[in-house]
Each structure stands twice: as C-alpha cells, then as structure tokens.
C-alpha cells in the first residue's frame, strides 16, 4: 500500500507521539548511536535536536554531516512485532544559530519546555537535519520509502 497521504500521515503521527529518537553518526567509519530529544517541522523537511559541543555526536557530525535517526513506537512487549512502527529518517545535519534558529528553537521548546536551560546555554549546539528520506517500517517487515527532498 503506497497511498502517499497515508504514509506521510503515519510518519507524522509517529513523530508526534515520540519524544526521543536514536541518532546515528559515525567516527571514521565506525557507527555511533545516541538517544536525543527531537522536534520537527510539519512538512517533514527539518528534524532538530540539541547537544553540548563536547560530545562525540557533535564531533562526528562536524566531520561528516550525513546522519540518520530512528524513531519508533515500540512498547517493549510481544505485540511490538505486529504493532510497532519505526521510521528511519536520513539527511544532513548542521549546527544552526542566530536568527535562522529562532523559529525552530521555539518549536523545539514547545515540545520540550523542560530543556530551556539546556538549550539556552552557550555551549549547547542546536542541530538541524535537512531530511532527505523517510523509511517507514510497519507490520514487522513492510517497508515504505518517502522521499522528502532529492
């Protein structure tokens, strides 16, 4: 089933329901995964998160901006195998600051208001991922790709 509207809506409802996602970066080819609190724009073109600049994920992205993020609805129960959904979002991430970040930061804090102090710290980097593709996995092994930007 590849009804584009349904796919986009499913992805959006999955992102809406989850606070955290698994970010993938790499260090000289070695994969590295991190849990981050994310937010996104409704057109799915941007996904964003925050990190201190002294972290591995930050250094990894500085060296290579290609990243992926896994967001899923698992409940850690048996039913996950037919019920859970997961979306893998791929794209390129950059630190964004100043005027360009204002609106996206507002969106981020609306979703994660408790991270205000964290986000406001001068050592905290606001990272914006330009989304290229979303890969949706449902009912165990049904996989659908949605190209957001070529």
């Amino acid at each position: 089933m590849t009804n584009p509207t349904r796919v986009v809506e499913t992805i959006l409802s999955l992102l809406e329901a989850q606070q955290l996602g698994v970010l993938s970066t790499h260090c000289q080819g070695h994969p590295y995964a991190s849990l981050v609190a994310f937010a996104y724009t409704d057109d799915l073109t941007r996904l964003f998160f925050a990190t201190p600049r002294s972290t591995r994920k930050y250094d990894n992205i500085a060296a290579d901006d290609r990243v992926a993020m896994l967001i899923d609805s698992r409940s850690n129960e048996e039913v996950d195998f037919h019920e859970a959904r997961a979306v893998t979002v791929t794209g390129r991430a950059h630190e964004v600051a100043g005027d360009d970040a204002v609106i996206l930061k507002e969106l981020y804090l609306t979703r994660h208001p408790y991270l205000k102090t964290f986000l406001d710290a001068p050592t905290c980097a606001f990272m914006v991922m330009r989304v290229q593709r979303c890969i949706l996995v449902e009912q165990f092994q049904n996989v659908t790709e949605y190209e957001v930007a070529p």
Binding site: C27, Q28, H30, Y32, P52, R53, S54, T55, R56, Y58, D59, N60, H112, P113, Y114, L115, K116, T117, F118, A121, P122, T123, C124
Partner: protein, 730 residues
C-alpha cells in the same frame, strides 16, 4: 474542581484539595471559633501551574543531577533557589490567571492579607512542616497576592522542606500545595499555645508577644512563656523575657518596632487571658481529638485562631529538634545582622590578636618543656577557633543566601545566580594575597637575569628578590604543599620559587569583571521604593560582608594554624636532632595530639575507586562558574600534587581549600567534588572568570592527571577524553 473556595464552602472537600490548614480552619469556623476570613486556592491551581511550561519536569531534572540522597545541603539549597526562580519567572498561563482573579475578586479589597501554605501532607500527628513552608504577612492587591501564591508554592521545594521530606523517607517529588489567603488580623498580642506540652504531657504551654506572632514563630522576638497544669489550668511558671520590641505591619511586609516602656514592663497577656488562650487550645483538642498546637492573636477582646495543627512531638519519631534544625537553615536579617556585629567587632579582631600574641613568642627561644607547653596552648587556641568557625562563621554564610533570595525576589533575573556577580570583587584577602604573589612573579619576569626562565636555573637569586620572597613568606606563611620535614625554611623558599617561575613564564591571569557587574547594583536598588532602599542597601552590605568572610575566615584560620605549625616544627626538629629526657616525652605527647587535632577541613566522603574497564566519559555536576575550558587534568590527591601544577591545566580536586587559592590563576578551569554555587572554589573561580563545575561525584577518582578534559561551566558538565578515543581500538 474549583480553583478557589471560601472557608465556609469547605466541608466535604478532601484534604488533598485544600490542605490540612484550610481544612482545620474551616472546621473551627463551623464550630464557632473566631478565625480570620479566608479563601483557599486549591491544589488544582498548583497542578495547572506546574503542568504548564514543563515546570514539573524542570523541577525533577533540577533534583536529579545526581542521586538526591547524595546531595549536600549546599547543593539542595542551590537547587531550591533555581526552582524558586522558576516559579518567579514562569508567567501565569492566561486562563489560570483569569480563573484565580475571578475566584479572588469577591474576597480582595484594600485590607491587608496573610498568604499561608496549606499542604495536604503538611501537618499530621507524625510530621510537621511548621515553619518550613512559607507564609507572607501584610500583602495587598491581586498582583501581589498572586506573586506570593507563587512563592508559597515554591516553598514546597525549599531546601528545608526537601531535606525534611528526604528524612521522613517519603517521595521527595510527589507533592502538591494549596494556599490559604486570609485577612490579616492585627492583634494587640499574639502567640502560640500547646494544649499539651511537647516536653511534659501533664502540662500545657502558652507563649505570647506583643504585635504579630510572626516575630515569635521565626525567633526574632523572645516571648513570655507560661507553663500550665493540664488538669486544673493553673499557671505553674511564668518566664518573662526582656521585652524590647514587637513585630508589626509596615508599608508592605513587616517590621520590628521598639516597644513603649509601659508595655515593656507588662506581660502581653493578663492572667485571665492566659487562661482563655489555654482553654481555646483545650477546646480544639476536644474538637480534633488530638493535642493541638495553635497560633492565635488577641484583637479587641477576641481570640482568633490563625492556624491549628496536631502537636507532633508526643509519641512520634519526629522531634521539635529536628524540624528546628531544618528551620535554622534560614536566618532572618536581624539575626544575621547581629551575627555580623559579633564577627566583625569581636571575633575577627580577637582572632588576629591571638595570632599576633603567638607570633611574639618565637618557639626557638623556648626551653623544651616550655615549648611543649606552648604547643599545648596553641593547640587549645586552634581548637577554640575551629569551634567558632563551625558555630559562627559557617552559619554567617546565610548572609549571602539571604541576599540572593532578596535579589531574586526583587529583580527576578533569568539566571538565579546573577546576584553572585554583584558580590564578586568584594575585596578578599585570598585575592589580595594572589595580587602580591603576581607582583613577585612580575619581579621575576622583568628581572635582567630572567631570560625566559633560563637565567634562574639552579642559581641563587639576587638579594632584592630573596628579600621580596622572605617578606612574602613572613606575611603569608608557607605554601600548603610544603610539609614539615627536613629544613623547612629552605623548602618553603624553593617551592615558592618554583611556583613563581611557572607563573612568570606566562602572562598574568587577569581578575575578571563581568560587563554587567557595575549595572547590577543600580538594577537591584532600583527595584525598591524609596522607603525600602535602606533595607535593600543593608541586605547588599550584609551579603558582601558574608561573601568576604566566606573566604577570609579560612585565611585567618590559616594564620592561627601557621603559628601552631611553627611551634610544632621546632619541636619536631629538636626530636629529629636526638633530644632525650622528660622534655622530649612532653614534646612527643603534644605532637601526637597535634596529629589528631580537629581542623576546619571537610573530610572527603568519596573513596569509590573505578574499575579500569569502566571509565567516566561525561559527569554531571553543577555549573558554578561560567565559561568553557579544555586542558590537561591536574588531579589533587595530596597537597604535594599542587606543586606540579602547570599553567593552563585544569584543577581537579575534592575540595578547593583556601590555601589552594595560590595556584588558581595558573589554571584554565576548576572541577570539584564538593558541590555548591557559594563554596570557596566557586567564589574564587568567578573572581578570575574561570569555568568551574562543582558537585562532581568522585572527581579525583574518576579523572586522572593527564586526562584531557572539557569543563563546561554553563551546563555543569565535565567531559573526559577526546571524542575519537573510544574508537581507536575498534
């Protein structure tokens, strides 16, 4: 659920909605006991407020930086201040504001109010939060009322309340609060009454003061005290204090006034009034079924019940003493001002005299037994001042805290620790000492023989430099890493030269003045109306004095200890030189006592050793000095480790002892196991504008000298190692 209910409406509302205090007052009112008119802002309003803007999660994140059970009181205080500021700076959600304004509308007029906590679990027979949650007297108007409701809510998270909940073993986090808004009844006399004395179950107690009972409750005004026989109501004893002042309302808030002579000579209650007050408490005991602790006021012949709660100290694990300890965490302006007078006018001069007197007795001129006696005497002098240090100097640090709270209430800054910026560059002895040290380093740097340090290798220095070194040592004593073995004076001199060479090789560290610092004083004072400016200036002056002593007391204590060390050194030298006989035994005895003396150093509580396969990468502490620094860690496990510290390294230690101040200008940042925003290390770091993270669990065990670390003084995070390190073996 309604957000605001009047006392007469409270009948079936569960205590969980209106809290114990409101519930008890409603019951008294129903039974005809005069109580001030009041409405109750229910716990639902609290729930809606903290539910907005992620406040609940922000509070919990603040309290979860490390396991709560491991937080020191200072750290809990810091967290409480941050939480309090969250309440102050979080704007009202518009719908909640509108609902409260509508609910309070019919009750508010131009009469003054009292805003009290009414916590669902506040007062029961098992526990009493009396005095731990805030009450505010003489508040007027909607805006001020709402503001104080926020402050009462915030007091649910005060350091005292948090620590008390921790001790009671309940969940620190699960809490809610209702708020009682009462009309202020300004009685001629007020006080407390226990239908059954916490000390003796056959007795009751009445305490009374002139004016408002706030003065009695917070300990500012000493009350008249009556012990009564519970059976007969007969007065067994009446203890009269020296009556000199009373607490009354002033513009906004309360103020201490002198008592007219006629009143000062007369108890605040007539004998029959003492009986009436006691009768009322007994009546309430019958009504509630347990002994009552009642706050009352006597106005125009009527005794009003302000609040009543079970007496907690009979048959319960809780004791007045414990709760009193938590209450003592907060001291009033009056109390601290008196302490300041005692410290500045008596204790410090006395201490300096003691050091001077010891300095006049050079140990090498004494006979063996006189020397032993002198060591004994100096041990006692040190002991005495260590006690004073704990009982007077340490509590005086509350002056900084009081100022911080007043500053935040007035200015409502985004950063709850902005007030510390206003306190930096209060002249500190430790910084003054560092200035002298830097002058010496500059003599080195500009000396004709210096040549980038090469010229000083292995040579004696010119006589003017040697003289300057000796003058410095005479004034400030030896560096802390010089231990008394062998020829101490040579070691003292050599270690100072080593430090000065390291300093001279690099440009001098500048003291740091934040840009906004000069404006903050104006900003603070500008928040007060003309008639309260004197108070604001007084609190600022108290804050500065307290801040200064926080550092200086250690230096003065160091001077006393230096005199003790001089005598002990002389004794050791004589023993090392083979001294025999009774004089030697005496000396040995005193030196043993010296070895086990009490000092002001705090014991390290941290001995955990990490397994090599488990290594910390990031450790959360508290952001105590803004900025970010990267460098090699210099871990201080013994004082000697300080000697090896190089320019640009990051000082990692258990506790920044005041004697470590010397090396701080060489460092790029500070990491400390002991936590707090106002501890010595944090104060000194801010003086030099150094990034500083305190409260880092296991700092000196989890970090190794030579580790490359990042100190994030904004987020309070220490990162160990390079990010790529972990992949090297992969």
């Amino acid at each position: 659920m309604k957000l605001v209910v009047s006392l007469s409406e409270i009948r079936e509302e569960p205590v969980a909605w209106v809290g114990g205090k409101a519930s008890a007052l409603a019951r008294m009112k129903r039974h005809g006991v005069p109580v001030p008119d009041a409405v109750c802002v229910t716990t639902e309003a609290y729930r809606l407020f903290v539910g907005e803007a992620g406040l609940t999660e922000r509070i919990l994140m603040e309290l979860s930086r490390k396991p709560f059970a491991e937080m020191r009181w200072e750290e809990v205080w810091d967290a409480a201040l941050r939480i309090r500021n969250l309440f102050l700076t979080t704007p009202w959600p518009p719908h909640l504001y509108a609902a409260l304004a509508a609910g309070l509308e019919g009750f508010l007029d131009d009469r003054p109010l009292v805003i009290r906590s009414s916590c669902p679990r506040e007062d029961s027979a098992e526990s009493s939060f009396a005095g731990l949650h805030e009450s505010y007297v003489n508040v007027r108007g909607l805006e001020a009322t709402l503001e104080h409701i926020k402050l009462v809510w915030a007091s649910l998270w005060s350091d005292g309340a948090l620590l008390y909940r921790r001790e009671l073993g309940g969940d620190v986090h699960l809490s809610s609060m209702a708020v009682l808004v009462q009309h202020l009844v300004t009685g001629e006399a007020s006080g407390v009454v226990f239908s059954q004395s916490p000390q003796d179950e056959s007795e009751g107690v009445v305490e009374a003061v002139y004016g408002l009972n706030q003065g009695l409750v917070d300990g500012t005004i000493e009350p008249d005290h009556w012990r009564l026989d519970r059976e007969t109501g007969a007065v067994l004893e009446h203890r009269e204090p020296l009556r000199s002042s009373y607490l009354g309302p002033d513009g906004l808030g309360v103020c201490t006034y002198p008592l007219a002579e006629a009143k000062a000579n007369k108890p605040p209650l007539m004998p029959e009034e003492v009986t009436d007050v006691f009768e009322l408490a007994c009546h309430l005991e019958r009504l509630f079924g347990v002994a009552q602790d009642l706050e009352w006021t006597l106005a125009k012949g009527n005794i009003y019940a302000l609040q009543s709660r079970p007496v907690t100290t009979l048959d319960s694990g809780d004791t007045t003493g414990r709760n009193a300890w938590y209450q003592s965490l907060h001291r009033s302006y009056e109390n601290l001002t008196a302490l300041r007078g005692r410290i500045e006018n008596h204790l410090l001069p006395e201490m300096m005299r003691a050091a001077d007197e010891m300095a006049e007795v050079p140990p090498h001129t004494l006979s063996d037994s006189d020397l032993a006696e002198e060591i004994g005497k100096r041990l006692e002098i040190n002991e005495r001042w260590v006690l004073v240090y704990w009982s007077e100097f340490i509590p005086y640090a509350h002056g900084i805290r009081l100022f911080g709270q007043v500053y935040n209430d007035a200015v409502k800054p985004e950063d709850p620790f902005e007030f510390t910026t206003l306190l930096t560059h209060t002249p500190l002895v430790g910084i003054e000492r560092n200035r002298h040290l830097e002058e010496l380093a500059d003599l080195f740097r500009t000396h004709v023989d210096w040549q980038g340090g090469e010229g000083f290798g292995g040579r004696t220095l010119s006589s003017e430099l040697e003289e300057a070194l000796m003058a410095f040592i005479d004034t400030y004593g030896a560096l802390p890493w010089v231990e008394g073995k062998g020829s101490r004076s040579q070691q003292t001199r050599d270690s100072l030269v080593t430090l000065l060479c390291e300093m001279a090789r690099h440009p001098a560290a500048a003291e740091f003045i934040p840009e906004e610092a000069p404006k903050l004083e104006e900003r603070f004072l500008g928040c007060f109306p003309e008639e309260e400016k004197a108070y604001a200036r007084g609190v600022l002056s108290l804050g500065r004095s307290s801040y200064r002593l926080r550092d200086d007391d250690n230096i003065y204590m160091g001077q006393l200890e230096a005199q003790l060390l001089r005598a002990v050194d002389e004794g050791r030298q004589r023993l090392d030189n083979g001294l025999k006989g009774p004089g030697a035994d005496q000396l040995r005895g005193e030196i043993e006592r010296f070895g086990i003396r009490t000092t002001i150093k705090s014991a390290s509580s941290d001995t955990a050793v990490e397994l090599p396969v488990v290594k910390a990468r990031q450790i959360m502490g508290q952001p105590a000095g803004q900025g970010v620094a990267q460098g090699m860690a210099r871990v201080i496990r013994t004082p000697e480790d300080l000697a090896a510290l190089k320019h640009g390294e990051i000082l990692v230690c258990d506790v920044v002892e005041p004697n470590m101040t010397y090396v701080v200008p060489l460092t790029a940042g500070i990491v400390e196991r002991r936590g707090g925003m106002l501890i010595h290390g944090a104060i000194i770091a801010r003086e030099y504008g150094l990034p500083c993270v305190t409260g880092v669990p296991g700092a000196t065990h989890r970090i190794e000298t030579g580790d490359r670390i990042t100190v994030d003084g904004y987020l309070g995070i220490v990162t160990i190692g390079e990010s790529g390190d972990v992949f090297k073996q992969a």
